[in-house]
Symmetry: C2
Subunit: 350 residues, 2 copies
DNA sequence: TTAATTTAAGCAATCGATTGCAATAAAAAT
DNA sequence: ATTTTTATTGCAATCGATTGCTTAAATTAA
């Protein structure tokens, strides 16, 4: 079973007393084959159960209709959605996707990059792992002439194609909303600051406070409250302060926000009256919790499509060594019950 | 940028006045190269920024360390988890994953199969699209000598490797649990019956009723209530019956169960006292709803690992044309508030 | 009928790495 | 000192498809 020989164009050629080149031309449907022999070739190809060997074809043609994607985790909603979006577009173009997960580890990320370079993929799409520090592997990609598109978690200083969310603006929107709802002491749960997205979200938080002349209180800013558990732990600390916050912006994720909600509920705090909660990502569950959680939608599927389109429109089509574009997608604040201190009726319905 | 030439083993050979074969041997780290020249070769390889061309290597070696995966949707929790599980194992073995989504369309599924055959993948892993009818494309895979592993949604009569959940048993467990809780009229939301998994779940429902001498009431069985919306619609119909059910088993998915919950809540029915609800899949949100939803965990990540291990242990390692194994994983009933009519305190805590 | 043009098919090199076999050099055994 | 063995390295074919170039055949023009 394993070592069964597969039919090649030579088998077809031999059977028809033709040359392999004619078979190749007939199958590639291009040029210079008479209709009669083309039909003959197509028929025997079907009869012999012929399937092209893409390895050989790609080797000869010097390229691979394949795009490599590296994400921290495949089974995280956001990334799964982005991948689905990419796949949607690439499929139309007859391209394939090779998907790797770095598991949030940069050493593994480096290995993924290596594999993809070896595979001669046409393009590499990447979102960095949490422990990102060194961009040497990204440089290597470029040294090998492979187009590189970074998204979401990017190495900012590196001059490549990028598809981003405007995290700072989203963050400003969220905090401004909290302020407008009358919250006075707004805490921030922040993510690893080596990642651009978390730096930007923090910047947005600070900018919004500043604009409204709110003081910046270091004790209300909690580092590295990434997961539900860490979010819960930080919330306990925050709520046991002498002057606890009356709102928490979990800028890291909705999971973190969920941790906040659970702790608050357990401590008998009323949400949103006594504590406002805002998450990030618009995970499906934020709509379902009680109260439902205000959050930020990142348009993940459409980000994926944007990435793929960027490749096909800007990179693949032009032979020029064109300057990398940066596309920024404005996320949208989804206002739900967990932050409607003033007018709980005022829900956005869509 | 695009057409930049990459260093090959010939470049290295030329620079060192050696033959390409020696370079190949040195790099593959195997045999018959003196330590001195090996070091020399390794050094210049690094210096010239050499990366192997897997296309050429795989073409020559006649195989591709790649496993193709076809799923209905990449960004559906269950499938994303399975893929993550597969990836976890294959990564360890140095294999790559090519992932395709059929988008629940069998015509697209056929095209995915074609691409993967062309790519000479070492194995194809598939879960069928919802409109599955014809298994010709699966036969084609076998005709080309490519090992095939089906999982979850499978063509049962086809003799291939399979990794399954015991859907029937899970279903029996769920319905039995409902009966034990004192529910008397248990409705079923069923999925497309062309898919084995939904047939099995229905069979389990029927078996459990029969065992407890419950009558089977056709008006309590709703076809094709797959999504949240369809689940909601079916629920409305069920609850407006002269004798409405006092429990609904949404065997299709947790999303469907969510639709049930929302309709029940809206109609002022108390869950679990007046209506019991059980879902399927253990989606993250089922833990969060109020009340939390009883459901069935499919061990998706570990299913993925099982699939990959099956390949490495049973297929790749043995040269024999061995008989396909079927691995069945017993899912677990997760009992939560939505079905605890008798003793709401009696929650399983883990 | 002959020359010019178009069309169809074959030849052979190529993509880059691998590998069985042959050849040479070095080391060990006699 | 000579033969045998072993360790290195080179040669050349191979994997399967593609493609520029050449040749042969068929069609059209003169």
């Amino acid at each position: 079973m394993k070592n069964q020989k597969r039919t090649t164009i030579y088998d077809i050629a031999k059977k028809l007393n033709l040359n392999a080149s004619s078979v190749s031309r007939a199958l590639s449907n291009n040029s210079n084959v008479s209709e009669a022999t083309r039909k003959l070739i197509l028929d025997t190809a079907k009869e012999l159960n012929y399937k092209q060997n893409s390895l050989a074809s790609n080797l000869r043609k010097g390229h691979n209709q394949t795009i490599g994607v590296i994400v921290p985790r495949i089974n995280q909603n956001y990334f799964a959605d982005v991948i689905a979006g990419i796949e949607e577009v690439t499929y139309q173009k007859g391209y394939n996707l090779v998907i790797c997960q770095s598991n949030e580890s940069s050493s593994r990320e480096v290995k993924c990059v290596d594999t993809l370079i070896n595979q001669h993929v046409s393009c590499i799409v990447i979102s960095l792992s949490a422990d990102f520090e060194d961009d040497k592997h990204l440089q290597t990609i470029r040294e090998h002439g492979i187009p590189l598109i970074q998204f979401d978690r990017v190495a900012e200083h590196l001059d490549t194609f990028k598809v981003l969310n405007d995290n700072e603006q989203a963050s400003i929107d969220a905090v401004t909303h909290l302020i407008e709802q009358g919250y006075k002491r707004i805490a921030l749960l922040e993510g690893p600051q080596n990642l651009n997205i978390f730096r930007q979200r923090k910047a947005g938080y600070l900018a919004a406070l500043e604009k409204h002349n709110f003081p910046i209180l270091p004790e209300l800013i909690k580092e590295n409250a990434w997961t539900k558990e860490l979010g819960a732990a930080s919330t306990k600390e925050l709520l046991s302060l002498p002057e606890p916050p009356d709102a928490i912006f979990a800028s890291t994720s909705d999971f973190s926000a969920l941790g906040v909600l659970e702790v608050a509920t357990k401590m008998g705090l009323k949400v949103p009256e006594e504590l406002g909660i805002c998450g990030y990502s618009n995970e499906a569950f934020t709509e379902i919790t009680s109260p439902s959680i205000t959050t930020i939608d990142q348009y993940s599927v459409s980000m994926g499509k944007t990435i793929a389109n960027l490749y096909f429109q800007e990179i693949e089509s032009s032979d020029k060594d064109n300057t990398p574009k940066i596309v920024s997608i404005k996320p949208k604040l989804i206002i739900r019950s967990s932050t409607l201190k003033n007018n709980p009726e005022d829900l956005t319905t869509d």
